[in-house]
């Protein structure tokens, strides 16, 4: 059997007469970061929702650790260890770090009807986990609203890992971040992968994807343009493929034309 953590083979998804995805194939290995790149409308969102169990694919198969699987709900995917961190992060900004970290999965103590939320344990786990990423949460009861965008992203990822994710699907984790914060988040993603997780990193930012990715799948108008290993692909080539190289060339010609007119 291959060392693929998860395989998506020839996945297609149709909405009525619209072909949202056609024959998309991706393999994710343990400890590797697979970047999924594509411009707006390329079908990234549909693909994520299919991977995370929100949509059922109309064609193709999903194989998790060698076993063919059908996800009936996001819960199913989660139980298989496939955790998706959406752009909205599923964090409540008015709630504390701890309460967010354990939202929906609170650690309990006591017996029967007197079971209570073990705040102390939750606080210490949350601080410890955030500390591992290098975010010093001196007061885990502080509201998430006071954290920076990068810290929130890291909190959401760290939560997914704590609750047993084997495959992390990250939807545009750096899109709303500044340069420094994006690098903090990317560093954390690399660290997570090196601990044995498979990561699917969805982005349209080549400059963020290229340094961290091991392989790259490019999506264009619902179809995969193929998966490339890093050694077979330069940054420029990737950039060209992603934006549709011809269009970029055309743009360059037009820009030169404008430049010439201005000079005259």
């Amino acid at each position: 059997m291959s060392d693929n953590l998860i395989e998506f083979n020839n996945i297609s998804k149709f909405f009525g007469s619209v072909i949202a995805l056609k024959d998309v194939t991706m393999h994710i290995k343990r400890g590797q970061i697979m970047c999924l790149l594509g411009d707006n409308g390329a079908g990234k969102s549909t693909l994520i929702k299919t991977l995370s169990g929100v949509h059922k694919p109309d064609e193709g198969e999903i194989i998790v650790e060698g076993k063919k699987t059908v996800f009936d709900s996001p819960r199913d995917a989660l139980d298989m260890g496939i955790a998706t961190v959406y752009q909205d992060l599923a964090l409540v900004s008015l709630m504390s770090v701890t309460r967010n970290f354990f939202m929906g999965r609170e650690p309990m103590k006591g017996f029967g009807p007197f079971k209570t939320f073990d705040v102390k344990k939750a606080n210490s786990i949350a601080s410890e986990r955030m500390g591992q990423i290098g975010i010093d949460v001196r007061d885990p009861s502080q509201a998430v609203g006071t954290m920076s965008g990068g810290e929130r992203q890291c909190l959401a990822i760290s939560r997914a890992i704590y609750f047993g994710a084997k495959v992390l699907i990250l939807d545009e984790p750096t899109s709303a971040l500044g340069v420094h914060q994006a690098s903090v988040v990317l560093k954390y993603i690399v660290k997570a992968a090196s601990s044995g997780l498979g990561v699917i990193l969805i982005t349209h930012n080549v400059h963020h994807a290229y340094p961290v990715g091991n392989s790259f799948t490019i999506l264009n108008r619902g179809k995969s343009m193929g998966t490339f290993n890093k050694k077979d692909l330069s940054r420029e080539k990737l950039l060209g493929m992603m934006a549709g190289g011809e269009e970029l060339d055309k743009l360059e010609v037009e820009l030169k034309e404008i430049d010439r007119i201005v000079k005259d």
């Binding site: 409540v92 900004s93 008015l94 939202m103 929906g104 705040v119 975010i135 010093d136 509201a143 965008g149």
Partner: protein, 372 residues
């Protein structure tokens, strides 16, 4: 208010964490405003009406009882508000629960305890109906429960007039004495302390030597017990975390597995049940049910919850705050009689207090949610 737009605002901020002083932590507590307000109100009346008997045992019991009645529904309303919804049908539910107790007991010959249980089961039904309508339709709870406000009040009036030909149902007092459970809502607690204090001459006595204030009314005990229970729920249980999450970000909460629908429905049942507790206390104390009982109480409950630090948008607030909000309300509404101020001004005070509270809460929310 999406997290995304906020993180855009935050992108220039630093990764390091500021040191937050103890005072700032305290300033961020939701119940701070109501606590401070209560202290101000007590100082005010202590200076203005300190020598009038307002703070005698009898006077104190009086304003505590008014506070407690409101507090019972305000605490439940606060939980619902933290969960992100309103219940405007609370006042009508009080009237409805009242006749659910009185009509079976007086006209159908049910034992009182059975009518009380009947009223509570009706409350669960009404709360469930409110909850399921809000959760299933996705309509604002404001509209759904506004409809329920009219439906319940109308039904209360129509049914009562149909069965009794009147709008009041008296004659419950005699039933209270022998009933096995009615005392839960009507008996005074700690009577012996009051009798003892009376015999020492420390509190006022009647002509016959019994103390004027006979004990702590059941409503006050309910108020305190419900506040403690709600606080425990919010701070110490899984369900409490779900309440905050459901009100703070419905979709986010659902995505991580919080049963948002069930949480909201149970909170609607909570407000209806609290309204029924209020009705039991009132009906058994007065000995009669009135179809207009509880009129406008839903708005007073919301005022108390807001003064207590609950955000109208949900996800933030406290039960203790709502209890203090009710205390401010009760103290001022009774205290005003001990001053030279015309009681007509009470509503003006109420409105101004609510405005100040909302502005203050808004400021707190900005402090808590923004990384500035």
């Amino acid at each position: 208010m999406s997290t995304k737009s906020k993180s855009i605002q935050n992108k220039s901020s630093d990764e390091r964490l500021r040191k937050v002083s103890k005072l700032k932590v305290l300033l961020n507590r939701p119940e701070l405003g109501a606590l401070g307000g209560s202290i101000l109100v007590f100082i005010f009346f202590g200076v203005i009406a300190g020598d009038t008997g307002m703070f005698s045992a009898y006077g104190t019991i009086n304003f505590l009882e008014v506070s407690a009645n409101l507090g019972i529904i305000a605490v439940a309303a606060a939980l619902l508000m933290i969960g992100g919804e309103f219940d405007l049908s609370v006042g009508s539910m009080i009237g409805f629960a009242g006749i659910c107790i009185a009509i079976p007991a007086i006209y159908w010959g049910w034992p009182l305890w059975m009518s009380i249980l009947f009223a509570f089961s009706m409350a669960v039904l009404v709360g469930y109906a409110n909850g399921i309508l809000v959760v299933r339709t996705g309509l604002p709870s404001f509209i759904v429960t506004l409809a329920m406000l009219f439906i319940l009040r109308g039904a209360t009036l129509a049914i009562t007039r149909l069965i009794t030909g009147r709008t009041q149902v008296p004659g419950l007092r005699v039933l209270v004495e022998d009933d096995p459970i009615a005392w839960i809502f009507s008996a005074d607690a700690f009577k012996f302390i009051f009798t003892w204090l009376g015999s020492l001459g420390l509190i006022e006595l009647r002509q016959d030597g019994t103390p004027l204030a006979t004990g702590i009314p059941a409503s006050v005990i309910w108020w305190i017990a419900m506040t403690l229970f709600a606080t425990w729920l919010l701070m110490k249980t899984r369900y409490g975390n779900w309440i905050f999450a459901s009100g703070g970000d419905k979709l986010g909460a659902r995505n991580v597995g919080v049963p948002v629908g069930r949480v909201k429905i149970s909170l609607f049942i909570g407000t209806a049940v609290a309204a029924t507790i209020y009705a039991c206390v009132q009906v058994l104390d007065a000995g009669s049910a009135d179809t207009m009982r509880g009129f406008l109480k839903e708005l007073e409950a919301i005022v108390a919850a807001v003064v207590g630090g609950c955000l109208l948008t949900g996800g933030y607030g406290s039960a203790i705050g709502a209890a203090f909000g009710a205390l401010i309300f009760g103290t001022v509404s009774m205290g005003i009689y001990y001053t030279d101020v015309d009681t007509d001004w009470f509503k003006v005070f109420l409105g101004v207090m609510m405005l100040i509270a909302v502005i203050f809460n808004n400021y707190i929310r900005r402090r808590v949610t923004e990384n500035k």
